[in-house]
Symmetry: C2
Subunit: 271 residues, 2 copies
Amino acid sequence: MTAAVLINGISPGDPLQALAVEDRGFHYGDGVFETALLTHGRVRWLEQHLRRLALGCERLGIVAPDAAALRSDVQRLSGSAERAVLKIIVSRGIGPRSYRPSARAKTTRVVALYPAPLPPPTTRLALRWCETRLGRNARLAGIKHLNRLEQVLAQAEWYDDAIVDGLMLDTEGELVGGTANNVFLVREGVLVTPDLRFCGVLGIMRAEVLRTAKELGIPVSEEPLWPRDVEAASEVFLTNAVRGIRSVTELGSLHWNGAPVADRLRKALDL
Amino acid sequence: MTAAVLINGISPGDPLQALAVEDRGFHYGDGVFETALLTHGRVRWLEQHLRRLALGCERLGIVAPDAAALRSDVQRLSGSAERAVLKIIVSRGIGPRSYRPSARAKTTRVVALYPAPLPPPTTRLALRWCETRLGRNARLAGIKHLNRLEQVLAQAEWYDDAIVDGLMLDTEGELVGGTANNVFLVREGVLVTPDLRFCGVLGIMRAEVLRTAKELGIPVSEEPLWPRDVEAASEVFLTNAVRGIRSVTELGSLHWNGAPVADRLRKALDL
């Protein structure tokens, strides 16, 4: 459960009765969200999260929430937290019964604090392949929108805590990433990651990893990838804004030992 | 705005503060909905709507709401309405911050009454082609789930009241239907409609039309269709549970006059 929440800047009297029944986020998943790590009262990569949120609003034609008000909400919730997850949701707000967005809709902004995830008990990190595929839609690709049934169905495929995430393919069989992580492969010294032109989320940590790799002189490539690229990789790791960079040790019959590239990136990014 | 609403059987004190901030319908679009026509206190095709709702829940692994409770909600709201739209939303309920559905989640059920749409001022019915494409996902095809951003983006393509709906193609260019309607074509005396194996909603009116056509001895076919099939059709009509069967008169440079098949179906269905 959330530790604290603000809806349009106001703490709801009862979090169980907080959102408008006609909010388009509920009716159509008509909005975007961000999930950030909060440590010692500071949100890691806040600017990057706010930028992606604004970009998502622009792509969906949602009036972005007032930046000062949003920052103020974040500040109010962040102060007391030693380590937590900050989630921001922005929906198009209340609207009539129609898919068509009204120009008069007033954006709903939700800022909520959640407990931070526990660190994993071992350094072993196993993945699986998901059967659920991702539909392609270039107009929704990259942004962190609220239409997440594909990820919900994918995560419902397994309840084994030893499996940390599942890799997802799109309907054409292209590799997209984990259900809640981006994926990177090392191929003959080159750091490669799916280009996400048709689906997937352009992760904040993904961007930080690409930027940092370039600074370190590691060649990088964003390109279409396939399951055979995972099989041929000398190193595989997951990235996500909350959990950082996590090296994969196994996937089915595949095993990886040692993660020199991920180690360099973690060190450079001070993770 | 809604005329009346029940959330888990209870009328909220304030519809603007009604839903739990952690409802998975809001976070992930994790649920399904129905939109039915209510006339003289009776919901048209209620059994069919409840059946599709249950099917959608089953497909998503959501515990379907108690049937008696849901019927009771519908009854309570229906009594006084001369003509209205009844909307039912069922979400997976409140859950922790994770795509993974929890077995403990308690379904949220919302039943709401909306004003009925006004009848169109003319018999002219113009369509357009939407640029927004539908991603393919066989696991979500057919059910009326809450991930509707593609329809929202499609309807945001035009604000011209003279255009009643837009036809949507999937990412491979196959015809799916309108943004909020199923589509039927007449091709050499055969009534054809997209099979919706990859996307789209299996409409209640669509099923009634197929059933009725068979009873009338009109040959029917559910199959993959393409824009060229629309161009070659001798008759085109839209179906939707609220608005019934509506004959299309124009689409770009295409024009249709007379709608003998739609007329027969409307008469047989007493619309």
